[in-house]
Subunit: 167 residues, 2 copies
């Protein structure tokens, strides 16, 4: 049986929520990672994925500038990186300098992929749409990578940015 | 370390993937549920949620017609309903007649909510955008409901529509 509640209470039922790290280079060539929970696949053929980025975030500028981005699925061992990338701004710091996190050049786009991630999806920017306080970016997946070792994905498992694996 | 692979192999790393059931009424007033894994929150203030629906699905017509839809988070006990709603078309049958699943009238939109779901989000259609073989529908969340009993969400935990709970 259902009971009507406020949005902020209802949305607490969403966990576990997947975590991705989106990476795009700014106009100075600095690769800037941002941790996001709001992402989905949007097309199977051709493969496309979408992310929703807060309008205030530096990643709006980096993605709009470079017109491409990587979507990485961080592994369950990458919680500290995900928290750092999600709680600092690329306007202020170079996140990959401040927090050690292995990267490799992307193959088809001007970005990087995360060496320790479960998987990486290289995307070219297909379209974008404003939705409330966020911008939805839709990307064409043009190259994919997986970790040579089996890894588990990282999820937000409870409010307050509590990260972990699920089974 | 990363290895370049085909999309179909890389995307197998996505599990567990959340499951939602989106419901919209057709021009005859028939409420039509569809099971989806491709969904995300897209705005916090105002609250908005998005779903990606395959262009061939009847739900394109129902949502376009009624300009509103419910997003339900099915509980882990609703795997059979989710499979049924996801593998039959509302063009052919009345899914809620063929498969017993308690519903209640929505409060703010002309749709229904699922009595046994973890939560239900009533949405008015804000915007839509084609992305490859799917259409992204963005909804304004105008009313929310949660189950009076604590329930766990349903996830796709492995390829082949293997559904279950996670912890």
């Amino acid at each position: 049986m259902q009971k009507q509640v406020e949005y902020q209470d209802a949305i607490k039922t969403k966990y576990p929520e997947q975590v991705v790290i989106a990476i795009a280079k700014d106009r100075n060539g600095k690769a800037n990672p941002i941790t996001l929970g709001w992402t989905m696949i949007v097309s199977g053929e051709p493969p496309m994925m979408a992310i929703a980025v807060a309008k205030t975030h530096y990643s709006i500028e980096t993605i709009t500038h470079s017109r491409c981005f990587t979507i990485a699925f961080p592994s369950s061992e990458m919680a500290d990186a995900a928290l750092f990338f999600g709680s600092n701004s690329g306007r202020d710091i170079d996140k990959f300098t401040e927090f050690e996190c292995g990267t490799e050049p992307a193959k088809e786009i001007n970005s990087v992929v995360l060496s320790d991630a479960v998987a990486n999806f290289e995307c070219t920017l297909e379209s974008q749409m404003v939705a409330g306080d966020h911008v939805i970016f839709v990307g064409n997946v043009v190259a994919c990578h997986t970790n040579i070792e089996p890894k588990k994905r990282l999820y937000t498992i409870a409010p307050g940015h509590k990260l972990g694996s699920v089974s």
